[in-house]
Symmetry: C2
Subunit: 154 residues, 2 copies
DNA sequence: ATTAGTGCAAAGTATTTGCAAGAAA
DNA sequence: TTTCTTGCAAATACTTTGCACTAAT
């Protein structure tokens, strides 16, 4: 895989990576990449990215954002996630592609599920059904510990 | 939960259920329901349902299909699934809501993952993070055993 | 009769694309 | 300079909605 070293997430890694591929590192792409660096923990949606872009680099168009997201997805730089709220979300790729998420419906917090339990689950499932699984998705939606406390009854 | 008895899937269960709610059982809804009964195993997309409808009951409009799907979703009669192919898929609800899926990218076959392993995984995860998980999703995409055999190298 | 449901066409959303102009390399 | 990228606006694709009409109960 491309970015196993987790280094792509550094400031200039994308620049070098794109140049290596004969692609250009533009002002817009730089802005989008810094939006990712800033918003990463939130697994931002397209809108969230666009709104942040407006604040740091006005004038980046939706067309460019969509085209750039597609490009970066194709390159494996980012990964698209569908949390079922009608908006696609993104995170930086090149890490454990098998990890899952817990999403709090109240505060929007996203917890990443990683490690042996997830891996074991997939390994066992693949074996049991003889399936060669290339893309995996585990997502749980509900209330995180904090929101649950704040709202014992609905 | 509403249909734990798995009986909703019978021919006239929906009719009785809707009447109970003061809703009407129309020719169109009957057609859509029979599409579900016919296509259930495929976890059909909106288009697949619509195409089947055209063959058994011409004249059911997209508006009606969408409205009916939404109603049935709200009632818990069906469950929406996003397999990430750009189309929403549906299955009959009221069964184990926690089950996951393995989707073959080649032949489209869908295998349902159920049982103790899935349940244990979620129970353990919920405990570990103190999360109250209300909606769950597990999906794997890849090649099923048969397609894998037919195409040893890509 | 009453009220929910339907078809149609128009309106929304979200995303993609053609093309001329612009900016990296 | 050459080629990739951008912005704009138009086009697409999918889904929802307003309204007058129809059908189920």
């Amino acid at each position: 895989v491309l970015f196993e070293n987790k280094n792509l997430f550094q400031r200039d890694e994308l620049k070098h990576f794109l140049r290596q591929k004969g692609l250009k590192y533009t002002r817009q792409r730089e802005a989008i990449w810094s939006a990712f660096r800033y918003l990463e923990a939130h697994h931002p949606s397209t809108e969230e990215i666009f709104n942040y872009l407006k604040s740091i680099s006005p004038g980046v168009s939706w067309a460019t954002l969509y085209r750039t997201l597609r490009r970066m997805r194709e390159l494996g730089v980012i990964v698209e996630r569908d949390f079922g709220d009608g908006h696609l979300h993104y995170e930086v790729g090149g890490r454990d592609l098998a990890h899952g998420h817990l999403v709090c419906n109240r505060c929007g917090k996203v917890i990443e599920l990683e490690g042996r339990k997830v891996e074991d689950f997939w390994r066992g499932t693949a074996e049991k059904y003889g399936f060669e699984i290339s893309r995996k998705r585990i997502e749980g939606f509900g209330l995180c510990r904090e929101c649950e406390k704040k709202r014992p009854k609905d």
